[in-house]
Amino acid sequence: MYFLELVISGIAVGSLYALIAMGFVLIYKGTGVINFAQGEAIMVAAFIAYYLVGFGVPFWLAVPLTLVASALLGALTERLVIRPMLGEPVFSVVMVTIGLSIFLRSMAGIVFGHHNYVFPSPFPVEPLHVGGIVLSHNHLWSMIISFLLMLLFFFFFKFARLGLGMRATANDQDTATLMGINIKKVYALTWGISFVVAGLAGVGLANVMVLNVGLAFVAISAFPAVILGGLESIPGAIIGGLAIGILENLAGGYLDQIVGGGVKDVTPFAVLFLVLMIRPYGLFGTKEVERV
């Protein structure tokens, strides 16, 4: 019973991790870069949603508006920060995203303030009781949304022209350009879509956590989920996210008492390390083929 409760709440948290991981994977799939500023994108979206709701905009309208704002932010970031780095080594681009994350975090502090805000949750506080297990509404919704998104992206990348274009660009930029794919459009769309996913994650997290500038650091906890599933795999991101959520909660529930506390946060990383020893490209990542 206890075990099941831990697993269910693990799935709930895991679906949020999955959303965050999806954002990372999208950008990696489309542009070959890990975006260290993803956490800040999530936080900014959460704040935008908070202020919209604060101004009296009803929740069901605030969320799409937030997503639109996130998409714009993503496109803007791509245009100003990433576009000039086209063709540079991956590492430099990653470092630019790190600089961006520092910048966004302090700007968010200036614009939104440093205090702790509580997001007015639209869901009823009373959780659902399903067969003795307690499940809160917003966790349920994040799970549903994650699964829907996974299906959507799966088909998008497999069949849609733009999706295939994104995969081609990530694989080999030069060849993709030669084949007539408009790289600039692909980049802009990739970042826009990824920031939209981040926006959803932000709204989900804001419902669950106290809202402050520190929300951005949750993305770091989602790194194991990203790598576990493999950097190019959307289903991998979902499975990785859920796995990490469940693992965390199980470790927290059982091991915390024995080993002295704090194991909950280190377990995902320890597991990640072990998995990487066995499968160097994550569970579902594609092996990089090297030519000499």
Binding site: V96, S106, I110, V266, F273, L276
Partner: protein, 350 residues
């Protein structure tokens, strides 16, 4: 008589010389003199900042050996610093050993840890390797804060002062000279490693590892060596850090610190020792410099009085990192080389 228009090398030794012309030798001597008289012309705070920079320089040189020269991205560098710092603290405070045992010991224990991490990570590439090293860093942080018996846990550990031949170095100025010696030594060793066979092997591993193996470069051996070497540097830097701060705690060695060290080498210039030095000084000094600039502006422009917010510093810092990389992805080192070449070739443009 034909006039030489460029410097030609006629032997292997000439080719890898560090200071090849009489000018570079002169500049080096002047630079060293400048460093020696620094404490007499600036105030204690600047000396303290330079002390911190020395630590950062040693750490970033180590990281550059691993990441810049051998191409193995490591997001766990701060963990190796932590291991070195705690080893030095345990030996220095717990057993009362002098610095010339604690610092190398810290380096060696860290190097051993580096080998322990390097061997399992041989198969990993790129961002996966970065994540594996990051996980290692998180695990080390956890162990440090939980194993209270060994490390003092949340309390942290205290560190005694450096004791050189009976003199206790208890001022920033005396520590400055001490740190300067160690830093100079470590830089010279690194430069020497890089310009010889081992360094070339590292670069081969980074650029075309499969081809390198085919040509007889032992991939496993050199990757592990790179890890060990970089961790040794980190360990020594950690020991230096412990001596300067007097107190260490796991929160001084977090993931954010690892990212900072990475930023140092990327902004300074991957694959260049001079770049690591530039990058380290930049990351340590830039926040202070921005603050000074902002406070100076505030007193000059009345409109900004009282509106100065600390957060702007950090925002500008992040912005600087971004701008640097967008406009000069080769980092500070590339800018420096361009300036040098510009001077050398003046008035010609190339």
């Amino acid at each position: 008589m034909p006039i030489r228009s460029k410097t030609f090398c006629e032997s292997y030794h000439e080719d890898i010389k560090l200071l090849d012309t009489i000018w570079s030798k002169c500049w080096m001597v002047l630079f060293i003199l400048g460093l020696l008289i620094l404490p007499y012309i600036t105030d204690t705070y600047i000396v303290y900042m330079v002390n911190l920079s020395c630590i950062a320089v040693v750490a970033s040189v180590g990281l550059n050996i691993l990441t810049g020269f051998t191409g193995q991205i490591s997001l766990g560098h701060a963990a190796f610093l932590a291991i070195g710092a705690y080893t030095a603290a345990l030996l220095g405070e717990g057993l009362g050993m002098p610095f010339w045992i604690t610092l190398p010991a810290g380096g060696l224990v860290s190097a051993a840890a580096g080998i322990l991490v390097g061997i399992p990570c041989l198969r990993l590439k790129g961002l996966y390797l970065a994540m594996a090293t990051m996980s290692f860093g998180v695990m080390v942080e956890y162990v440090l804060i939980t194993w209270r018996g060994l490390t003092g846990g949340e309390r942290g550990m205290y560190m005694p002062e450096v004791n050189v031949l009976g003199h206790v170095l208890d001022t920033d100025e005396s520590m400055y000279y001490f740190l300067l010696c160690i830093t100079a030594l470590m830089i010279i060793v690194a430069k020497n490693i890089i310009r010889t066979r081992v360094g070339r092997a590292f670069i081969a591993v980074r650029d075309r590892d499969i081809a390198a193996e085919v040509m007889g470069v032992n991939l496993t051996g050199y990757k592990v060596t790179a890890f060990a070497l970089s961790s040794f540097y980190a360990g020594v830097a950690g020991g230096m850090y412990a001596y300067v701060m007097g107190h260490i705690h796991p929160e001084h060695f977090t993931l954010m610190s690892s990212i900072e060290y990475l930023a140092m080498i990327v902004i300074g210039g991957l694959g260049s020792i001079l770049g690591s030095i530039f990058g380290a000084i930049f990351i340590v000094a830039a926040p202070e410099g921005i603050k000074l600039l902002a406070q100076g502006l505030e007193s000059l422009i009345p409109a900004m009085q009282g509106r100065y917010d600390e957060e702007w510093n950090i925002a500008v810092f992040g912005l600087l990192i971004m701008l640097f990389l967008i406009f000069e992805p080769g980092g500070l080192n590339a800018i420096w080389q361009r300036i040098k070449v510009g001077f050398k070739n003046w008035p010609f443009t190339y």
